[in-house]
């Protein structure tokens, strides 16, 4: 997945979200070594200090682990990754439901509609 940065939001929060997505999708698998800050910054064409800040936040969350001598790796705690994945899913769904309700759909209608569209996608 290429880096996609919007211009109206802080860069480091977008970097956090995108690295999270790379972890959840398996592009960065559990236990995998991350490239150096400089390489990651270059890949995303952002300032290394900004990338550093994003990685520190992910470290605080526990998704990324720093080793004294061998750089950074993705956590091997698959339960934690799963949990973050659910949190993200919940957020996405809540956002979707909010929009649907704004358009005037009832809960039951939303469910039927989702079922119908999923059926059609098969």
């Amino acid at each position: 997945m290429p880096w996609d940065l919007k211009s109206d939001r802080p860069i480091y929060t977008q970097l956090i979200e995108q690295i999270e997505l790379k972890i959840l999708s398996g592009e960065y698998p559990p236990g995998a070594r991350l490239p150096s800050v400089r390489d990651m910054a270059q890949e995303a064409s952002v300032n290394p200090n900004t990338m550093q800040r994003a990685l520190s936040k992910l470290e605080e969350k526990g998704l990324v682990v720093t080793h004294r001598t061998s750089g950074r790796t993705i956590t091997e705690d698959t339960d934690m990754i799963k949990q973050v994945k659910y949190e993200l899913a919940e957020r996405q769904i809540a956002e979707f439901i909010e929009k649907m309700q704004f358009m005037g759909f009832e809960k039951r209608e939303i469910l039927t509609l989702i079922a119908k569209i999923l059926e059609e996608m098969k």
Binding site: D8, R9, N47
Partner: protein
């Protein structure tokens, strides 16, 4: 920690024109800073003052605590807005020239970057396009291991693809102990790589902030804020 660049009530007049009208500023090490302002706002004057190409009318400008001069030129790598290289020289000759002149010049780095840009070191400068000449100049400036890089409009004359390369060159060559100050009005192209921005207008600072703070507080890009602040 001592700021790498400090301005204390810095003023520069050209006749009755106040090009720099009392600037107080501190820039720390390890930052990439955008010096942003419309045409004629005083960007180039500040950079020239930092290189002792101009002397202040009053006030002070200090590089690593010292007045601009021979000592500070050893630690400052400067990209002027105009080219000053001899057209009859080949790229290779210029690299030798720079490596004789500056003790912190890393020739290996320069050749490496030339290779990546498919520039032939044997080519004479006069045979290069304007954009390629600018690239050579930036390569020379970034091949020094300086404490402070002062880049005056480094991306003005090159195409968007080369712009990306130049920004990449800046990111990959600067290190935690050095500071890069980039003056430009092409903000949307460079804001992703900046830590801090300084907005100047009519020779005065109107805003200093970090890029992420601006986006956080105002919910808009630095480019959008610039257009708002400097609306004609």
């Amino acid at each position: 920690m001592r700021p790498i660049l400090e301005c204390i009530n810095l003023k520069k007049n050209f006749g009755s024109n106040h090009a720099v009208a009392g600037i107080n500023l501190k820039v720390e090490s390890g930052r990439i800073v955008g010096l942003l302002g419309p045409n004629g706002s005083g960007k180039t004057t500040i950079i020239k003052l930092a290189n002792s190409l101009l002397t202040p009318t009053s006030g002070e400008i200090l590089i690593d605590g010292k007045k601009p001069g021979v000592e500070t030129k050893k630690i400052v790598s400067y990209l002027p807005e105009k080219t000053y290289l001899n057209n009859w020289m080949s790229i290779q000759q210029i690299i030798e020239f720079f490596s004789d002149f500056y003790s912190d010049f890393n020739s290996e780095k320069a050749y490496d970057m030339l290779k990546r840009l498919n520039l032939d070191p044997k080519e004479k400068l006069k045979n290069l396009s304007k954009g390629n000449k600018e690239k050579v100049q930036l390569i020379l400036v970034m091949s020094r291991e300086a404490k402070l890089y002062l880049l005056d409009e480094p991306i003005g004359g090159v195409d968007p693809a080369a712009r990306d390369y130049i920004l990449e060159t800046i990111i990959s060559n600067y290190n935690e102990n050095s500071t890069v100050i980039i003056s430009t009005h092409l903000i949307s192209d460079i804001e992703k790589i900046l830590d801090d921005v300084i907005f100047i207008k009519d020779g005065q600072i109107v805003l200093t902030s970090t890029v992420d703070n601006i986006r956080d507080e105002k919910g808009k890009s630095v480019d959008a804020l610039f257009r708002e602040v400097f609306k004609c």
